[in-house]
Symmetry: C3
């Protein structure tokens, strides 16, 4: 059974940077010999996550605002007390959002809503280069 494991690299600004990665995923499907199946989008690392959103500047700003309010940067974190790297909030936000997303595709096209894009959210407190794994399983 065919499995293809691909990846791409992307630079982020950190600090809850929200990046639309839909085109990378669509391109991977275009190049794949598998036309029907599931693609797993996975971000290695413990300070970033993936999900979907309507990628327009308002909703993107709102998402950042809600994470800032629910898991604020400037609170006490035991992680920061131990390691001094100041990204305790980043770890918790990433754990809650999750590093993985499984999306079905059919005839080489992602089955997404019209206004639904796949996003990487980088919660770390500095610029990062991220490697995103795209694993395609199907027929």
């Amino acid at each position: 059974m065919p499995v293809e494991t691909k990846y791409f690299e992307i630079n982020t600004e950190g600090n809850c940077d929200v990046l639309d990665i839909t085109d990378y995923i669509s391109d991977a499907l275009d190049e794949s010999e598998i036309s029907n199946g599931t693609i797993t989008v996975f971000v290695p690392g413990s300070t970033a996550g993936v999900t979907t959103i309507e990628y327009e500047s308002g909703a993107v700003r709102d998402l950042k605002e809600v994470f800032s309010r629910l898991v604020p940067e400037n609170e006490y974190y035991a992680h920061n007390a131990r390691w001094g790297d100041g990204n305790g909030h980043s770890h918790i936000r990433a754990s809650i959002l999750g590093p993985s997303l499984s999306i079905p595709f059919s005839s080489s096209r992602l089955i997404l809503g019209t206004w639904q894009q796949v996003i990487l959210v980088d919660f770390d407190n500095r610029q990062r280069k991220r490697e995103i794994i795209l694993q395609i399983i199907g027929e």
Copy 2:
């Protein structure tokens, strides 16, 4: 390798409507020729999500209450300021919950806990007809 992509439609009340969709998924497995594998439940659209819960009226009410408290409808959302459709909170709730759920099945039966049901949560601020994708991969 066999892949089956199915879907069903379901009407929702929106406004954090929580619907038990377990039977739709079990029915899809009953009709499938694939008896062991993973089923991906995916909701296209950026204002709904999927997860599991003990589907009883108390827990369902609590889930709505917690989302109302954590991501309230009546706050400022930049999405609403731009688009005027009043569902800024719906987008953020959906991004946090996530649109996708992967569930293993064996001998054509979902491997769920006794008190665990699969739910669709429609966060939009109006009634919707949703199309839910069920993609089955296995042998």
Copy 3:
């Protein structure tokens, strides 16, 4: 197409106990004849979830603290009012975190970040023995 469905059992302390289950998953891949593909980690039950974190005592404590703050144990829950089992908060936390995680692997190794471990979070309000499903699909 090969599918392998495995499981392991693990004892938890409940009350937001956070357990590193990465080695169980790596061991399952070591024993598997499938060397490239996706492993789905699934916890049956409606009061536990799975995600990833940098598994060090600070971040683990922070995760518990954030869940205690966002979905407190000692609030009113309709679930508790109906059933009297006192774990209303556990159900809601589990629904938000989610019961499922899909992780790609290649050459029999999980594709995780260096500081990223897979965790089970048991939100129930008592000790539990949990059965975790590991389903491997690939080639």
